[in-house]
Symmetry: C2
Subunit: 375 residues, 2 copies
């Protein structure tokens, strides 16, 4: 008889933590282009909420330690009424809560760039995407209060980190969809997510959702900051540059089984599971193939199916113990669907890697090992 049935259990703590047996379920760090990239172990996530402690993060300049009592948000530039907003004042505005995914522009870069399919666990391959309930003030309220001048078309959003990460964003879209996010999954933002406040625009690439936000400057032209003229542009196949392409496209990932996992038995019933999302709206359909794209079956979508959020899909599969190639292909409410890797590559220059949303394939060997593949 185990000890825990005989003797009273341990004490609880004021702020709970995961079980010690789950110590391996953590984010993995990679240093890339001078950035610190922390990826969500998506292969362990069940349900559409990513625990805040496991939310992906890309840090251009580390995590600033900001005293919320001293932090202020400025709205200035081409406005009739410049605003300086403290935390206390912001508390008085109405807030909305929405479950949305957030994805780094460069997620799945390895699949975009590497000439061979890198054998990695899902989290390390494509874990720069997570999903949370975000709560904050609709930006329209603050923008209306600041009264932009007629020639204001852009807003330069700047963070209070040492690198002053900044992005130029179209005012009209920001007014329509933007949130000044103050809470994540019911509590104040974590420091690595922009404490005490960040910009959040559902569906837009991660770095546009400026963390540690302290300034929104209204302008008639974009600022061409280092963060938008450099890394976060997209080079098309014909050499033209695509800029301010902010929306993340429809995408899906099978999480079980996925890279470096093993099928649990030589053969038999297995529930294929995964996530789908689109920066343009709701997911309406996910097709799954177990034969490398020859035939497809519509997966079950688990409710709730929310706008610009992770949607869970699943499909029962009777594995015959044979080599198989699993794929998922999501379609959103606007009819956008995922391209094959070949089609995606043909659209962009060879060194482009942002906004990669091609179909992810997993090969299952006869002995049940699961591995990333381009097949």
């Amino acid at each position: 008889m185990p000890d825990h049935l005989r003797t009273p259990g341990g004490a609880d703590v004021p702020y709970g933590q995961p079980a010690q047996h789950e110590a391996a379920v953590i984010r993995t760090e990679a240093r890339e282009a001078g950035f610190s990239v922390w990826r969500t172990p998506l292969q362990h996530q069940r349900g559409i909420i990513t625990p805040s402690g496991l939310h992906f993060a890309v840090h251009h300049n580390g995590i600033p330690d900001i005293d919320p009592a001293r932090h202020q948000l400025f709205l200035n530039g081409l406005v009739e009424q410049p605003l300086r907003l403290s935390w206390d004042r912001l508390q008085r505005y109405p807030m909305v809560s929405r479950v949305h995914f957030l994805e780094c522009a460069g997620n799945s870069a390895a699949n975009a760039l590497s000439p061979f399919a890198m054998d990695l666990p899902l989290g390390q391959l494509a874990g720069e995407v997570s999903s949370s309930e975000w709560t904050g003030i609709p930006l329209s309220l603050l923008i209306n209060e600041a009264q932009p001048k007629p020639n204001a078309k852009w807003v330069i959003a700047e963070g209070a980190d040492a690198g002053s990460h900044a992005r130029s964003l179209p005012l009209q879209e920001l007014h329509k969809h933007g949130i000044l996010a103050l809470f994540q999954n019911g509590e104040r933002l974590r420091p690595s997510q922009g404490y005490p406040m960040r910009l959040f625009v559902p569906g837009w690439e991660g770095n546009a959702n400026v963390k540690w936000l302290h300034r929104l400057e209204f302008s008639d032209v974009p600022a061409h900051t280092k963060d938008e003229s450099g890394l976060y542009t997209q080079v098309l196949a014909d050499g033209r540059i695509q800029r301010f392409a902010l929306t993340m496209e429809v995408k899906s990932l099978i999480t079980r089984p996925s890279g470096q996992q093993n099928m649990p038995t030589p053969h038999g019933f297995f529930e294929i599971e995964g996530f789908a999302w689109s920066g343009r709206g709701r997911i309406v359909r996910v097709d799954v193939s177990v034969d490398g794209g020859r035939t497809w079956a519509a997966a079950h979508l688990d409710s709730p199916v929310l706008d610009r959020s992770f949607t869970r899909f699943s499909l029962p599969w009777q594995w015959q113990g044979k080599k198989s190639v699993l794929m998922s292909r999501a379609t959103d409410e606007h009819g956008h669907t995922q391209p094959t890797r070949g089609v995606w590559k043909s659209r962009y220059a060879a060194h482009s890697f942002n906004h990669y949303n091609a179909i992810q394939s997993w090969s299952v060997s006869r002995d049940g090992r699961v591995e990333n593949t381009y097949a």
Copy 2:
């Protein structure tokens, strides 16, 4: 210029934590009837997800330290096919994810029992309720596999804690609504929530959702365990005993402003906010009064409005700097609505305190202090 604008920020960690400036946002412990009760600081929660670290917990015998690799779930008694299920085997079943509240039967006991309204922060007054995304296996799958005999009407659910907390639950309801919960908010259950597995029946009182679940025994009669013949019964006003009344009734709480808070300015605009929920279904309406129940206005319900989940409500209020009494009254899709405290008290014996769902009132003094009141 603050330091964080001049020097690169700090490093991130594999499993993120809240900001150090939020160290006061924690659960508070109370020792009651030999139990350890940890309450959610609801006054700080924005959004319908309670962070797992702040989820309420009631421990009858501490937290057992269970090795998930050795833990097994038994289905036995009046079944054709007894089952012994390991974690690995359970992984192969289809799972569902649902956002649901969970509330202790004894939540708000102070308001039920105390002859005067105790002046406490909301969390300490009524923080034995939280809301999470729960992911697990529909119990119907496991029950069908075990094949209950025709005379099986009850299931005795038993936990693997030293006290062997156990409840007798009606098989038909369990089959229809029950989940074997393995994940909470995207990750494995926390130890204080029943790691590695718990029973979860949306809408049922907390202790029926047996934590550290290791046995479901099918029976023709209830077991009359200590946990159901004692504390968790309800004594009606005429002395009769109400047992197996498992469903938590419709309820709401204004979280802002709430107990021991201060209105931010002498007077002016304020967004009243709170949560409503019902163990019977969706919330369809929340009425708010700022004059002690004389007049009521329909609050705005923030989407998504989910079945047996926290629903956010809000109402803008122009506070005139006068003494006011705030109340909220929720109604669910079956037409159930919250009683006044007087009506609730008239239904039960004087010492009854379980399933308290009367309207919560907050008085606001002229100097802006907010306090619990029975007015």
